[in-house]
């Protein structure tokens, strides 16, 4: 497969998908609820989910940001290091249901690191995982609780989630690997 990447989601579909995921998250009664986005694009998706959840409930949903760089097991292999940024979780983690949000679920290693990071902050009653795209090819036994789109892929492909806050447009693409380094896992 060469040439133009395939569009898996456009802006409209992304918004409808997030709305459906918010509804699924809300179906499970368990209070209090908080959403935590994984830097970078997970944060924007988490913020949108939080907004949708608040609209459903008309009440505040806690929101946090997690940077998992200090928990990575592949410090050595990431050629293009992201800048380490703050973890911003101002509410107490203990006794809450946390929904962890990321853009793409791939090897599962990012989520493993995120679980370690959350555990260091306290003891939530439950941690659930919401991802916009599950592309398969796991390297550790991790599954998502809420999936926007499940799409089978090969390792020589990449899935890019573009969000308007970072990229100026909302879109999900599937294409051939043409960027150096690894995909976001």
């Amino acid at each position: 497969m060469t040439g133009q990447p395939r569009i898996l989601m456009d802006a409209g579909k992304m918004d409808r998908t997030l709305a459906r995921m918010a509804a699924e998250i809300r179906e499970q009664e368990s209070e209090p609820l908080a959403v935590v986005g994984i830097r970078t694009r997970g944060v924007h998706l988490a913020a949108r989910l939080r907004d949708k959840l608040q609209r459903i409930d008309q009440c505040e949903v806690d929101f946090g940001i997690l940077d998992i760089n200090l928990y990575r097991d592949d410090l050595s292999m990431v050629a293009d290091h992201p800048v380490l940024r703050k973890t911003e979780i101002s509410f107490p983690v203990g006794g809450r249901r946390l929904v962890l949000v990321d853009d793409v679920l791939y090897t599962g290693r990012t989520i493993r690191a995120a679980l370690d990071a959350l555990t260091d902050l306290g003891r939530p009653t439950a941690i659930q995982l919401a991802v916009l795209v599950d592309r398969g090819l796991r390297e550790v036994p991790i599954q998502a609780d809420f999936v926007g789109l499940a799409v089978p892929t090969r390792t020589d492909q990449h899935v890019r989630v573009l969000v308007r806050e970072e990229d100026g447009v909302d879109r999900v693409e599937l294409g051939d690997r043409d960027l150096p380094g690894r995909d976001k896992s």
């Binding site: 200090l70 050595s76 293009d80 800048v83 703050k86 973890t87």
Partner: protein
């Protein structure tokens, strides 16, 4: 690439403003870890750090040690006193012995200028200079800059006066290199016997009068005065030093009203800094100590990424 160019931190001379900014930004993220209940992340799990201190230093060594522990590194402490160093082993042989333990980092404090560079040229580990003779003390300058930036928002355009024995101060050198790179203006002040020749090569200007040096400045950094055998020719008495160069209330009033009062510690109360000035709300001396941990965590983390990249390559 977002990273440091070198796998060692030997000095602030040669660091670019981008690298300095990266270290300071990374340290901002490290501050958060110090505020958690569990002040530990697994980043350096399985990595070994040797803290190799040839000169006594409680502050710098503890600060490095806390930073290393918060990043989950394994730590070996070596000090000159009571080790083979005091039995006449050379720096090279000691370094080889340490290398045999396969450390990932060696943090070195040594009385000879260039000692950190000496190890860097001969060891596989990443070397972090924790003070070499009269040369550099980069993590001190970084934590000073971090403290300044937190209060003053940016370093560019700041007026900083550094007062004391400039000749023998690695803190003054590292601060001057860093601050000038970041666009701050640095003024050195002290008795002419304590200002090195051609000091302008450090990028700072010199002011003989304390009053003129601190007039309107944003930051006053006082250096510790040591009245030892070698300095007795440079300084007739501490009393006279205090009268001419000590920071007191009257002089402090000449600085900008929001000027920060800094000191790398340990302070000599009543000598270079008056008692009430040391406790003034504008004094950030204890904050400097706290920030030291975040800066050292940032340096270790950023160098670890480089070290790993080197191993992978």
């Amino acid at each position: 690439m977002v990273g440091l160019g070198d796998r060692h931190l030997l000095g602030t001379q040669g660091l670019s403003s981008e690298e300095i900014t990266l270290i300071l930004d990374t340290a901002e993220s490290m501050v958060e870890i110090g505020q958690r209940e569990i002040k530990k992340v697994p980043t350096l799990r399985g990595k070994t750090v040797v803290n190799f201190f040839y000169e006594p230093s409680t502050r710098t060594r503890s600060s490095f040690e806390i930073a290393e522990k918060r990043l989950s590194a394994d730590i070996v402490n070596f000090s000159a006193h009571g080790s083979s160093v005091s039995k006449g082993e050379t720096l090279l042989d000691t370094a080889r012995t340490l290398e045999a333990m396969e450390p990932n980092f060696i943090v070195i404090r040594h009385g000879a200028s260039g000692a950190a560079r000496f190890l860097a040229d001969r060891c596989r580990a990443s070397i972090i200079n924790a003070g070499d003779g009269m040369h550099e003390h980069p993590t001190q300058a970084l934590l000073d800059a971090f403290t300044m930036r937190r209060h003053k928002k940016k370093l560019a355009g700041l007026n900083v006066a550094i007062v004391g024995d400039i000749t023998h101060s690695r803190v003054a050198r590292s601060n001057a290199y860093l601050l000038v790179t970041m666009g701050a203006r640095v003024t050195f002040c002290g008795p002419p016997t304590m200002i090195p020749p051609h000091v302008e090569c450090l990028g700072a200007r010199v002011e003989r009068s304390m009053e003129k040096a601190i007039e309107g400045v944003d930051v006053i950094m006082m250096l510790r005065i040591q009245w030892e055998r070698q300095s007795r020719l440079a300084l007739p008495s501490l009393r006279e030093y205090t009268r001419l160069y000590g920071l007191n209330r009257r002089r402090l009033d000449l600085a900008h009203p929001d000027a920060l009062i800094m000191h790398p510690g340990p302070i000599n109360r009543g000598v270079e800094i008056a008692d009430d000035v040391a406790d003034d709300p504008r004094s950030v001396i204890l904050e400097q100590v706290a920030n030291g941990v975040a800066i050292r965590m940032a340096v270790l983390y950023l160098l670890a990424r480089n070290w790993d990249a080197h191993e992978a390559a």
